[in-house]
Amino acid sequence: MPNPVGLIPANTYPRIIAVDLDDTLNNFTETLQHGEFPYSPADSLSRETFEHYLQLIRNGESEPSDLMSTGFNYCHFKIHLRCWQEARARPNGVEFMQWLRRNQWRIVICTRRDMRRAHDSTRVWLQKNDIPFDYLFMAANKIAFCRAWGIKHLVDDSFFNIIHGKEHDINVYYPILPLHHSLPSHNARGFQTFDEVQRWIQE
């Protein structure tokens, strides 16, 4: 059995890229803020509790609790699942992914989604939008994932990755969103269209 255990990967792969889904390849936040989420009594919550939870989720907040599994967490997953299914793909992002495939890049879809429960809908969405990929990975810490797997390029919108990618020798590219105006100093590259990323990764 090979033994590539450790933070320094056995090989690095120059033509491999990790790409996030939510708010990178789709309009997740817009869908969450403006989408319709009908109440269902089958979810064992009162209507008032559901509306309260929905507001918390839209604000990016959570219900304080020292427990792992709660009614709020279940509601959070259900709302996010609906967003993942209904979010629109960014047309320019789809073209970029197809360009990667045509040019023999190895593509890793790298997401924070809980793949145990979101795998099927994620795969359906990718196929429906003609987005090619080689691997589907779930990682809360994408910098650690890219570093461990020898991936030099990451397209992702998260503050943490934008700020810390370069420290770990990962080139991070992010779609410029309104919330990014409050970013502290960093070495990642923000883009308006994926054409810019296409140019940068060939430098």
Partner: protein
Amino acid sequence: MDPRVTLLKEFSSGFIEGKAKIETDQFGFEFLEWLLSAGGALEYGELTDTRLLHKYKIVDIPEHRMDDLMQLHVMKQFNVCRYFGVEKNDVFCFNMDNNHKTDNTAIIPEMSSALDTLRTCLLGLGCEPLIIASGRGYHVWMRLDEPMDNTLLYEFMIATAARALLPLLVGGADHRAVKFSFYPDINVIDAVSLRLFGSQHVKNNSFSHVFTPSGLLDEGDSWKYFEHFIRNKTTPTATIKAALEELRKAT
């Protein structure tokens, strides 16, 4: 074949063929190529929050390759988790976890109470469980003489778990401290898997010791008990059906 692998294969014939989740410290494209080299496809991978632990859900695994993976499992090279049959199963399991965000590998009083009540309840219904320590609690397995419909198994597990939590509710303790998951779960049957006996828990690296009323057995005795359980403690499906009728009447 390693007799431990034979036992694991004998334990259940109902797990989905060709599908498994692998938990391991190994990662990287070379490892992934090796993992899939004898057949199988990666459905998805995961880097967990625990160290650099990775999980790989593999499908279309040829039978001989599944045997190889099981061999590596009993050699503690990695954990193999299996998926339950979609319609019927000849094993089922209550997964009891400490539901707290912190210090959740501790055995809390609520867990001990719920486990004790569950075991007493199952024995009272004529069913003897195999109890295995897991990182955050226990896996309480039952083995049947023939496959049984998942809907009935799920109903049986819901009813007995509710009984197990009743003393906590009556005593004013927080029953949410113990989280029950049911395998097979008819709502997420293809999404969730469970570690086989012989695994090492991902958080504390502890072996999946068998738990008896007199305490945890060491690794060698746990394997002996596992064999004894398979040979002597299989429950007739008629017993579960009769128990379910009793539980329905009681509720």
